[in-house]
């Protein structure tokens, strides 16, 4: 019972750590996805011990446990879809240990991504995964969704930067995994498991040496297709820059209006390129990419190695989704990934689909990775438009799958896309994942109703109701 969970938590952890009044719980009912559900209780633990105790009590009460970082996830991963206990990590936001020489750190899951790189920059090292949300999103949340970001083109995604984790199981026991341990790679399983296998309480991260030189270039193209062709050609030429990002005209206009970073407004698409590494490679690398861009119809090319200018360009690129607020009251951001050579075709299809549903669409995407983020603009008060967005989104995902792609490159499946997972995987594929779930969470109390197609999980326990 609800009261029993909250009262037991209060008794064990005290009012400073436990929230149980409906008005307090409302904040824990949603994340950046459009629906929400009220939890029975929330805890804000100070350390792993408190978190473990809370998990044990929740499991004893038969209540789900839902981890929460910044609540910035776009797919509903932090929504307590079946009620239960939300564990907020905001107080567990410290760097527990920093080993500069060996380039690793142990951090708490509530640490904000950008705060880590800022705290260690003076040592000449950084944490590579940089999702656009990095100013607010947490390392724990990033680990949960195996977050990406513009720079994973050459540095890889979160999972490539996690050396081990500490997690709490359903009995409230704290475990530690490490890539150094012999045996099955539990670390690799836990990263990207969206809180369904246990509660993260610490993460061992790999850090990298800051590159000696960094150069950013902005190229204007007549349209997204030609910019995408240029990206494919750069990769095909055996050049892997640290980032290759495309923004279309709609996004560029919104970003420029907000940030005035100096992106060209007359272009159909803007390509943002970053190369980083030893200074010896900068001039040749830039020249090679510029040549390819020009051969694919680039209208202009502007390069900079000035840190302030670079910072401004990246800040505006990472703020692209937010800047869209200038154009439409609401937007729906999709996340899909296709083989890189399919980019021009899939962009064309997205345009066709959006047009058919009469929805303005903006495209801002990690082109080098083939990771698309079409943003469909709509007004939530218009029921017809809401329906159109949902249908267009599904059609876009189906198109990506048909082109050999997948339904999430970096945001995760969460609550939103759980029923779409069966578009990608068959019964046998999902059954193998189910075996892992059976090992870690046989009672299906860790973040239920996430990732896996709905039906048999918590729908039987308590039907989730949309509140937002």
């Amino acid at each position: 019972m609800v009261t029993s969970l909250a009262s037991r938590l209060l008794e064990a952890l005290g009012p400073d750590t436990v929230r149980s009044s409906p008005e307090d719980l409302a904040v824990y009912s949603y994340d950046a996805y459009s629906e929400g559900h009220l939890p029975s209780a929330a805890v804000i633990p100070h350390d792993a011990r408190e978190a473990a105790l809370a998990v044990r009590i929740a499991f004893e009460c038969g209540e789900p446990v839902v981890p929460r970082g910044a609540g910035s996830g776009l797919c509903g991963g932090a929504i307590p879809a079946c009620g239960g206990l939300v564990v907020s990590m905001v107080r567990m936001n410290r760097i527990l240990n920093l080993d500069v020489r060996n380039r690793r750190a142990r951090v708490q899951p509530g640490l904000i991504n950008l705060d880590l790189s800022r705290a260690i920059a003076a040592h000449g090292i950084f944490y590579a995964p940089d999702p656009s949300s990095q100013k607010i999103s947490t390392i724990g949340g990033n680990v949960g969704t195996n977050a990406g970001g513009p720079h994973c083109l050459s540095y890889g995604t979160t999972t490539n930067h996690v050396l081990g984790v500490e997690f709490v199981d359903g009995e409230g026991v704290i475990h530690h995994t490490s890539l150094d341990d012999p045996g099955y790679d539990l670390t690799g399983l836990l990263v990207g498991s969206e809180g369904t296998l246990g509660l993260l309480t610490a993460v061992d991260v790999r850090l990298m040496a800051l590159p000696e030189s960094v150069r950013v270039a902005v190229a204007a193209f007549p349209d997204v297709e030609s910019a995408s062709e240029a990206v494919s050609a750069v990769i095909a030429a055996g050049i892997v820059p640290t980032a290759l990002e495309i923004m279309d005209r709609l996004i560029t206009a919104a970003v420029e209006a907000h940030y005035q970073a100096g992106f060209p407004l007359d272009a159909g698409a803007v390509l943002l390129v970053e190369i980083a590494g030893p200074r010896d490679d900068m001039a040749a690398g830039e020249a090679a990419i510029a040549r390819i861009a020009q051969a694919h119809g680039a209208l202009s090319w502007r390069a900079s190695s000035d840190p302030a200018e670079r910072e401004a360009l990246w800040a505006s690129r990472k703020g692209a989704a937010g800047a869209l607020g200038r154009i439409a009251p609401n937007y729906y951001i999709q996340d899909a990934c296709v083989p890189r050579t399919k980019l021009p075709a899939v962009i064309h299809e997205i345009g066709r689909i959006a047009h058919a549903y009469d929805l303005p669409v903006g495209n801002v995407f990690h082109a080098g990775d083939g990771n698309l983020h079409p943003l469909l603009c709509y007004d939530r008060r218009d029921a017809r438009a809401v329906r159109a967005v949902v249908d267009a989104g599904t059609e876009i995902l189906s198109t990506c799958i048909a082109m050999g792609g997948t339904i999430s490159g970096e945001h995760g499946i969460g609550y939103e896309k759980r029923d779409s997972l069966s578009l990608v995987f068959g019964t046998d594929d999902l059954a193998a994942m189910g075996r892992v779930r059976d090992v870690f969470d046989p009672r299906r109390l860790f973040n239920p109703d996430k990732i896996f197609p709905s039906g048999a999980v918590c729908g039987e326990v308590r039907a989730p109701a949309a509140v937002a």
Partner: protein, 409 residues
């Protein structure tokens, strides 16, 4: 079939055949050991039973390789050399970094969880793996991941299979992200006299252009045609011509200041050959009188661990050779003595000393008789109960390489 006699060799023609074989073995209780190129079969314990040797030699081929996408789907029995040849035609590669690439297979290298010295620069093999298909003991084929380089759709099952040594299923296909081949390679080799070692190690740590591999090699006569002292610092630089040139120049200068008398350079094919020989030496031609451990840990402690290994050998009356990997933190320790019998007599006690001295020490290679008398894994990790549960859920009949893995899994 009865345990104890030579295993029956089954060589399926395709993935479905492999899955059907596993299902049949599970039904009849036959123990199955997967066989690729047999270059890393020395990893782990000898399985308790082996009724069927499942060879992957007919599961060969590179599928869905579009060089413009820089991704390739590769069947398990394809050799690393074949992958290098096909991708190399397009200036691309997958840094398997594994011994004996002409025989070693993609599936076997993954199942072994091979982690080579260049992983600090290019990532672990698991990090380049973007999708997989595995044949499971219930006869199903389960896919994970896909053919895209970023993918968060369900659990990252491929990582579970990497390093599982055939105890959960048979990897039949692996999809990789390929990398552009470095334009230039140069190997710098410097003999290290006793009095300059510490300073030389410190000098390497301060280089702006980092070597893709930095090893201190002590012994290993097969790669000893490199002249100089028994103890050599080996640095591999890879990248553009300009970066490689600067990297070796800076390294030479820094080592010179640290008191290193001379640094020899090998270019192009010579660098490649030298480095390949070195990686081969991790497991190859170890002989029946040797036992090789890999210890993992912090890079800053790798050198000290090889010295500790040397100390153990001296105390135990054994001969020691070692490789200290200054970038990844691996320390490879090879022990030997005059006869198998002489080593075997010391072994249980010596193995216990090794396990006491190092947190993470596993047996990498060595004589079969010596390996049979000890556990390859040492102390069980704290998460062993979870690992046992995973095994039980994937292989309830316990037919997949029984006893080979950690904790007698």
């Amino acid at each position: 079939m009865t345990a104890g006699i030579a295993p029956r060799i089954i060589t399926p023609d395709d993935a479905a055949g492999a899955a059907a074989t596993l299902a049949a073995c599970a039904r009849d209780g036959f123990a199955v050991v997967a066989v690729g190129g047999s270059t890393l079969q020395s990893l782990g314990n000898a399985p308790r039973r082996c009724d069927v040797a499942l060879h992957t030699s007919r599961l060969r081929g590179i599928r869905d390789y579009d060089p413009r996408d820089m991704t390739a789907g590769i069947e398990a029995g394809t050799t690393l050399a074949e992958v290098a040849r096909v991708l190399g035609e397009h200036g691309q590669w997958i840094p398997f970094d594994a011994p004996l690439p002409a025989r070693a297979t993609v599936g076997g290298t993954l199942a072994a969880g091979w982690a080579g010295p260049r992983r600090a620069a290019y990532g672990r093999l698991r990090d380049l793996l973007i999708g997989s298909t595995i044949a499971l003991a219930d006869g199903t084929l389960a896919r994970a991941g896909g053919m895209v380089v970023k993918n968060v759709t369900g659990y990252d099952m491929s990582k579970l299979y990497v390093g599982s040594l055939g105890t959960l299923g048979l990897i039949v296909r692996a999809n990789f992200k390929a990398l552009p081949q470095p334009a230039a390679q140069r190997l710098a080799v410097a003999p290290l006299a006793d009095d300059v070692r510490e300073r030389a190690i410190a000098a390497i740590g301060g280089l702006t252009v980092e070597p893709t591999a930095a090893l201190i090699v002590d012994g290993f006569p097969r790669v000893a045609r490199w002249p100089g002292a028994a103890l050599r610092l080996v640095l591999l630089f890879e990248g553009s011509e300009a970066v490689v040139e600067r990297g070796t120049r800076d390294a030479r200068s820094a080592l010179g200041k640290a008191g290193v008398a001379e640094t020899l350079l090998h270019d192009g094919a010579g660098a490649q050959r030298g480095f390949t020989e070195l990686i081969d030496a991790y497991v190859d031609a170890a002989g029946e009188r040797t036992l090789t451990y890999r210890t993992t840990g912090l890079p800053s402690t790798a050198w000290a661990r090889t010295r500790a290994g040397e100390g153990l050998a001296r105390a135990g009356g054994l001969h020691a050779e070692s490789i200290a990997d200054l970038r990844t933190g691996d320390a490879i320790l090879r022990f030997s003595t005059r006869t198998v019998a002489a080593f075997a007599a010391k072994l249980p006690a010596f193995d216990a000393d090794v396990r006491r001295a190092f947190d993470h020490a596993t047996v990498l290679a060595g004589g079969a008789a010596l390996r049979a008398s000890i556990d390859a894994w040492g102390a069980e990790p704290a998460t062993i109960a979870t690992m046992r549960a995973i095994k039980k859920h994937f292989d309830p009949a316990g037919i997949l390489a029984p006893g080979r893995y950690v904790g007698a899994i």
